[in-house]
Symmetry: C2
Subunit: 477 residues, 2 copies
């Protein structure tokens, strides 16, 4: 039985999906700040007259500022997903713009919520950099390549209707298939899914700030002192100038010691593959590609030999039967604030604005045997070490240490680690001392001016409970 | 949070799975007649005292004869899956040994039945030739390699509990991962999952019988005359001496004509890869490996470059959103019997015994633009062309032609094809003429001696309806 091409216009794909007012639509964020797909789809949906949709992206970026117009006009009236930048800022001041509070979940928790039906997705719009007309597609080939489609596996599995959106329709069958036609309803061709320069940064570079370089070096000294850097260990690397530096220095230490890690989970960058090329790690789980080098590595090396795509479900879903993050020996993470109970905030700024998503912060912190947070003790006039974080993203009971430019503190809960570092040449301090050093420079922080009667967003924890609440920020008078 | 190894004894894995009397357990058949896993598991289950289980394998082989003991003792009281050989033979004479008729589904239909809950699997026992202690596993590495795990994707997705059974526990993480830990409950180490010599045949060879070679050559002439062998076409190859010959001859014709097929679906053998190596096909979907050469090819070439695993769901599930088989331009298939209405029987022998599974016969016949059946017109004293097949596996309305040693017939329904072959130098005949030629040699076939009050098995069609019924065979008096 010949079944025709699934290639239709975006409008037709949406019609065939049976989209109705009030339904839930999803997107992945792997095109990051270069993404055109969210805006293109929402413009079309708005033009078709739909209202009251729930947006369930893995994350939104500054490029998605036009979402605000659709929130204001009522096309979108709920958001369950990370909001990086202007959208989070807007709802922080205008929570009534949404019919119910935003819900933020970690990558793993989102996968579990889709699987369990807690967050049922009606239509998933899946950006692909290469697809055939039946929807066999990938993210590593084509002008808009963004890396392995690690997030869309879950959406393609659980969304009622799946629409592939691509600027690169290839001959059938696509040779590299990450989402397969048996999960795809329609295929839509657009001019351009995104701006390659912003999709993956070609210029990710290590921090040059001495304070941050010291933190990156100190964290490697710490994990070395703890005996973690040994044959067979597993680590997660991240992006951001300080994480890149830490990855680089960790690689140097691995090579210097002549050990080989069994695996690394990324957030992959050239620095990870450099470690691989030098023989310092055997296998790379790719959850996201953060630079071109990472996309190229995935093209040039066979999946299953050196690397494999790590779906959000395998990465970290608490609803699954095993999570890759639970095998991590160490993860180093950032934070906008850390308090004396080792609670970490990555979502809000100290003025209360919701400006960042959770990403894999909770997932890896809960999973890794050793979780260390890297931050300076202050940012501008804001103490990052403090009595209480503005918002708890990741609770202190899964955070083992913090490393700052003014010393490092180990969570007293981890007596085993405290014993191991005793007498080592490390700039150890208590978490209270770090807070005091921050306060000495900045003074006691001013609490955010919030209206606790108006809820902006809910920060979910891995089990689906609410970890913390984000409240309306009062306008400056 | 450290989560321990999933490595436990088979008994413990079964206990943890919460297996209870009456539940359904599944297996894949990719170890074929070399499989040890079905017998090992059933022996253990019997020893633990379970009764009344439903067996839902993708297929059973002669090696699984011990299943009969478990049927007789009541450990297994229902079978939904293909039964090749002794088990089918036994239930053909003893339908009362099972509490309800056996149900046979095609590969695609089985995938749909698992997905829809029509065939809910409680515990899937998944043989893997390499796994880590968390269940990330594959079928292409290790001493018992059997090829990509194309069937277990579906079971791992829908079974309530998934147990990986392997004779090769590797360091974590397994580099080639086909089933991932997020779908795996337990991992069991056994001495040997199968006999490598019987898992994939190292000695698959082309038929040497002149009649069969002529059929293989004629079918290639026919599909060439129909204009199918051209740039961009897609074909499915099979195993068996005559199919291998047809694949070989098709490859020769492809090269001779200088065309390149876009893809091939296998049942892969060295003959398929020979076509690839000569530049005759761009891409190979591997649904099963039929020989060592195929396993080696999958090891040596990157998945996603030249080949990819074709899950049973993507291959042919009528419950999915797209099937690879629907893109086939041509498939050549076998048959135990073909009748004047082009109905094909692959399940029963002419004496009524249920001796074979459906495999992908219905799936590909329904999917391919041109479906051709290859058979001799008789086997021993049995006419293969006949008035009515003993059992309808695949109905004549999805069969387009039959090619025999005594001529070829095109289904009159396909007037377009009849026009195309008019005047071509092909040994054309009507289907009735082919039947007559068979009957001339053998006489009119003796109908099987069956008891129509006792149902042995139900042959399901792709939509889940019953295509035909297999009845009890009467013992010879």
């Amino acid at each position: 039985m010949y079944t025709g091409s699934k290639l239709v216009s975006l409008e037709e794909a949406i019609r065939r999906a049976g989209l109705k007012d009030g339904m839930t639509i999803s997107f992945h964020h792997q095109l990051r700040d270069g993404d055109n797909v969210v805006n293109t789809v929402l413009e079309t949906i708005a033009g078709m007259g739909f209202k009251g949709l729930r947006l369930a992206p893995t994350a939104l970026f500054p490029a998605h500022k036009p979402v605000l117009d659709h929130v204001k006009s009522g096309v979108v009236n709920r958001i369950e997903g990370s909001m990086n930048g202007p959208i989070g800022s807007y709802v922080s001041y205008n929570p009534d713009a949404l019919a119910s509070p935003a819900v933020l979940r970690s990558h793993g928790r989102r996968a579990a919520a889709l699987a369990s039906g807690e967050l049922p997705v009606d239509v998933a719009f899946v950006a692909a950099s290469q697809t055939d007309e039946y929807g066999n597609c990938n993210g590593i080939w084509g002008k808009s390549a963004f890396g392995p489609m690690a997030f869309s596996y879950v959406d393609s599995l659980y969304a009622r209707n799946v629409i592939i959106v691509s600027d690169n329709i290839c001959a059938h069958p696509t040779h590299k298939q990450e989402v397969h036609e048996d999960r795809v309803d329609s295929v839509v061709q657009v001019d351009c899914i995104g701006d390659p320069d912003k999709i993956v940064s070609g210029t990710l570079s290590i921090t040059t700030e001495p304070d941050r370089l010291r933190i990156a070096q100190d964290v490697v000294d710490l994990i070395d002192a703890l005996g973690i850097i040994k044959d067979g260990f597993g680590f997660q690397s991240g992006a951001g100038g300080m994480s890149l530096a830490a990855t680089k220095f960790l690689g140097d230490r691995i090579i210097e010691k002549g050990v080989v890690a069994d695996f690394c989970i990324g957030g992959t960058t050239k620095y990870v593959f450099d470690i691989y090329r030098q023989g310092g790690v055997k296998y790379i789980y790719v959850g996201q590609s953060f630079d071109f080098a990472s996309v190229e590595f995935c093209r040039d090396n066979p999946e299953g030999g050196v690397w494999s795509t790590l779906t959000a479900a395998h990465y970290a879903s608490p609803g699954g039967k095993g999570r890759a993050v639970d095998h991590l020996d160490v993860v180093f993470l950032g934070g906008t604030e850390v308090d004396v109970n080792f609670n970490v905030n990555v979502n809000t700024h100290s003025d209360g604005q919701l400006l960042h998503g959770i990403g894999g912060h909770q997932d890896t912190a809960a999973g890794a045997a050793f979780t260390v947070i890297l931050t300076t003790i202050l940012r501008k006039t804001n103490p990052i070490r403090r009595d209480r974080v503005t918002t708890i993203t990741t609770p202190g009971d899964v955070v083992d240490a913090v490393v700052t430019d003014q010393g490092m503190a180990i969570n007293p809960r981890r007596k085993d680690l405290l014993e191991k570092v005793e007498g080592k040449d490390l700039p150890l301090a208590t978490i209270e001392e770090l807070r005091d050093r921050a306060y000495e420079s900045t003074g006691t922080p001013t609490p955010p001016r919030v209206d606790r009667s108006k809820i902006v967003g809910l920060i979910h924890w891995l089990d689906g409970t609410v970890m913390d609440t984000v409240f309306k920020v009062e306008e400056e008078k």
